[in-house]
Amino acid sequence: MHRLFWKIFLSFWVVLVLFTAAIIFAASQYLEQIKAQRDASVRYETLNRQVAEAQAAIERSGIEGLKSWAREVDREEMVPVLVLNADGKDLLGREVPPRALERLQRHLKPQSPSEQLVSKIRPVARLGDGSEYWLTHDFQSVTLGRFLQRPRVIAAPLMVGVLIGALVCLLLARYLTAPIERLRRATEAYAAGDLNQRVGPSLGKRRDEIVDLATAFDRMAERLSALMLSQKQLLRDVSHELRSPLSRLQVALGLARQRAGANPAPELDRIEREIERLDELIAQLLSLARLESDTQPPAPEPVDLSELLQTVVSDAALEAQARHCTLHLEQRVPAMIQGNAQLLHSALENVVRNAVKYTAEGTAVTLAMTRDPERSGGLVISVRDHGPGVPEEMLTRLFEPFVRVGDARDRMSGGYGLGLAIAERAVRLHGGDIGARNEPEGGLNITIRLPA
């Protein structure tokens, strides 16, 4: 439990401790170095080296060379080196502490033998014109502020700290977000209809809160899939079971008709009509159940979609005529695609009949078939009616089985709410998609996109 909690806690803690330790170590190292410089011999050695460097700088470019050398040293070294002229003024205009001035005085006018010894080493850089500059270490100016401002001092530990920190944080972030990303992708795929999405197996041996979450997701996915499957199974079973009584009903009606002889009761016609409706509903349910369980179109063959559309339009023309509507096939491109003609036919037929059913009396249903501008070889078929349209929030649910838009209207028109569901599944089985949108000037536009 709480493995992730401890991982985050410990890694932050360890990095902070390491970082602090590195800084302290670097600081103490440097202070050691400075202490060593206070030691006379080391100090003279350093000073000698610096004098030589200063002289070299002068040889190269005179007073300017000395200035830039002084600036360089000031930037890099912990202990500032003052470059004083005979008046005790610093070459770079830095403030000169009294003790440094004192030392300068002693150098200029040595009094005691011990001082003579000291002045034997003359930390002097000479210019071409004979003027001399005294180099002297300024320990008074060594402050914490200066210490932190010197990049050479702080750079190495800072760099190491930043790199280690970045590395640890990077690994941690990756470690945390990778499975979350996987979970997100799985959730999206699941939402898009891939009910077989599971996250657990892809996370391997890992054990922490995210894996717990993934396991919970998997359990939920499992349960939902089972529920959905059983719902579909139920629908299919019920439809299958309904066939037997319907068969008997049909034969019973036939017997009743035989007995009625030449003058059958009008109720028999009514019964026959209702039986036909039931039969149609069951047929639709079964074909929907079939489409749900299939993953690719049965027996794909070359289908002339253009011709298919023409057939559907002529078939629906009669229905349209009954409602004083017209069907108008505006545009057609020659198109052969691989698919199942029967399924594509039923998809187009359902969409067209739906449009004919809902378009206002006396208006036109407009169809067009064009090449898909977004997908080469793809096709777009749009069917647009001049009906009441569909409330925006229902647009996506339009393709679910048994979804009705306006209850009263639909019952009047005798639909079961299965046609568009069948169309959607048939189109999806062919790798295409179907969508609906309301036209701004009223009416619904259903668009079918099919790949080549």
Binding site: S239, S247, R248, Q250, A252, G254, L255, D279, S287
Partner: protein, 232 residues
Amino acid sequence: MPHILLADDDIELCEMLKEYLAAEGFTLATAHDGETALLKAQAGAFDLIILDVMMPRKNGFDVLREVRAHTATPVLMLTARGEDVDSIVGLELGADDYLAKPCNPRVLVARIRALLRRAETHLSGRSGSKAAEALLFGDLQIHTGTRTVVCRGKTIAMTSTEYCVLEALLRDAGRVVSKANLSERALDRKLAPYDRSLDMHVSNLRKKLGPRPDGQDRIVTVRGIGYQYVVV
């Protein structure tokens, strides 16, 4: 009176159909499982056998396979609506026709009549008003009188439906026969959209007759139109 065997596990349905078909002039024997159906089919002389696919003990396909091994009695398969593959399997196994259940009994009677008409001319050797003749196409010979087919010197056993399809194709040999035309001439009914019956019968014919001596197909499919028996 034509004698029909109906094999369906729905006892009530069988009883009602018996009554209905009796009024239409058929006598009906029934069986409610596959084994009984097979025994009855082998024992009695039926003019037509109607087989439901879903039956206990032995399904309709198995019964059909065994019946076909012995006799060319016309068989009508009752397939479950929504199981379109069943019809194809049934036709492939040599059924003469199929009907999706639930079906209108009027349609059932029409199918029965069409099948019996075909079989009757087959058995009695009468071929409508046309005189008996022998048609010869290379190594294939058919006798319209006895309705026998001889290919490469061997008599080929055929169901009456297969024979009707072949005869229709041969009478127009060398020309393309449209599916609609073939359906009306050979199956006695209008071509329904997406009905695979003709395709299956033609496929059975191809299997039974084999390729031409030169290795080419005897019957070619003209996509979207129909079939053609190729004459060299």
